[in-house]
């Protein structure tokens, strides 16, 4: 993982941790938001809305079911933000 990727992953981790009200280090790339962190559909929507605002992008809500862990969130944001890493 490049430094840029690592920085972006950590930024996403901070956002997710704030929404799920857990410590950032509790969220691994593959820990499941619902099964491991008690997320519900409203928290998932809040994550989506915060990411849109932070990166000034628009992510269709149809991507929500995919965004079940940090790695998947990274991949979705990368696609819509046009990250090249």
């Amino acid at each position: 993982m490049t430094q840029v990727m690592s920085n972006r992953m950590n930024e996403l981790r901070e956002v997710v941790a704030e929404v799920l009200e857990v410590e950032p280090e509790e969220i691994t790339e593959t820990s499941h938001f619902v099964d491991d962190h008690d997320a519900d559909s409203l928290r998932a929507i809040e994550i989506l809305a915060r990411l849109e605002k932070l990166y000034k992008i628009e992510i269709p809500q149809t991507e929500l079911p995919k965004m079940e862990n940090l790695r998947a969130v990274y991949d979705v944001v990368k696609q819509y933000a046009g990250w090249q890493d």
């Binding site: 559909s41 409203l42 989506l48 809305a49």
Partner: protein, 271 residues
């Protein structure tokens, strides 16, 4: 003792589940509203309990938050609710519904093949009076109401967290939620609303308490009186300062009304 899952099935591609809460006594069964969750009932049940003997069962229905609403193409909320009731480990004594869930209960009550119940409680149901024509004004009005209620629900569910969020972020969350529900969710609600006029509500023998809020367009104004005329078995309480979610925002007052209603039933078992 906490809530725990009793049963979960998939019927025609739709997931139905039952969760049991703490308590013992006759079965009190709860049907949530559209884009809501079975979890919504936990504080309500805590407020209702007191010394009432009942076993709470919260249904998890295919109009939960995040639902796909594919069932709209081949079935309706009353059939789904009827099937969910067959999953219970004991017969329901009292059936409680909120909003879309309340209207699913209402449809079941109006059916000649209704379940045997001691009583029903409808929280914030909606009703179309016979003189309210099905035209584009109705469509626009109900779509606006639908959008407003979804927004009210999102804000309510955020609870104390709402104070920490920018209002534009909350607006964005509401917009995302409406996107996710999509037209099918609205179609389900619109069809249910329109057909309330045609239900055989005057044949319902089950004592039914209806609690609605005066600021909730679902059953406000002339709809209240029209509903009273249509359903003589219903006792309608309109809370002057209540909205669509008054059973959560004013849980103590609403559950007191329910307890008084149950206590006044002839030979009640849930009272």
């Amino acid at each position: 003792m906490t809530w725990y899952p009793v049963v979960e099935v998939v019927r025609d591609g739709e997931r139905l589940a039952v969760h049991r809460g703490p308590g013992s006594g006759p079965a009190l069964v709860l049907a949530h509203g559209l884009e809501d969750s079975w979890h919504t009932w936990q504080p309500f049940v805590d407020a209702l309990r007191g010394d009432l003997p009942f076993t709470p069962y919260a249904l998890d229905l295919p109009w939960r938050a995040g639902a796909k609403y594919a069932w709209v193409h081949h079935t309706g909320p009353a059939d789904l609710l009827r099937h969910a009731l067959t999953l219970l480990p004991e017969p329901p004594a009292l059936l409680v519904g909120h909003s879309f869930g309340a209207n699913a209960v209402l449809e079941l009550l109006a059916d000649a093949d209704r379940p045997r119940l001691e009583a029903a409680v409808l929280l914030a149901p909606y009703f179309r009076p016979p003189d309210d024509p099905i035209d584009w004004r109705l469509f626009d009005r109900e779509l606006a109401r639908f959008r407003a209620v979804i927004g009210e629900g999102v804000r309510l569910k955020l609870g104390d967290r709402r104070r920490t969020l920018d209002e534009d972020l909350v607006d964005s969350m509401v917009a995302k939620t409406l996107d996710r529900v999509g037209p099918l969710g609205f179609v389900a609600l619109l069809r249910q609303f329109i057909t309330t006029t045609d239900l055989d509500l005057d044949t319902v023998p089950v004592p039914t308490l209806v609690v609605s809020g005066a600021t909730d367009a679902a059953l406000a104004g002339p709809r209240t009186e029209a509903f009273r005329r249509a359903m003589p078995a219903a006792t309608v309480h309109t809370r002057a300062d209540g909205g669509h979610f008054c059973h959560l925002e004013q849980a103590a007052a609403v559950t007191t009304e329910i307890r008084q209603f149950l206590a006044a039933l002839p030979a009640p078992t849930v009272a």
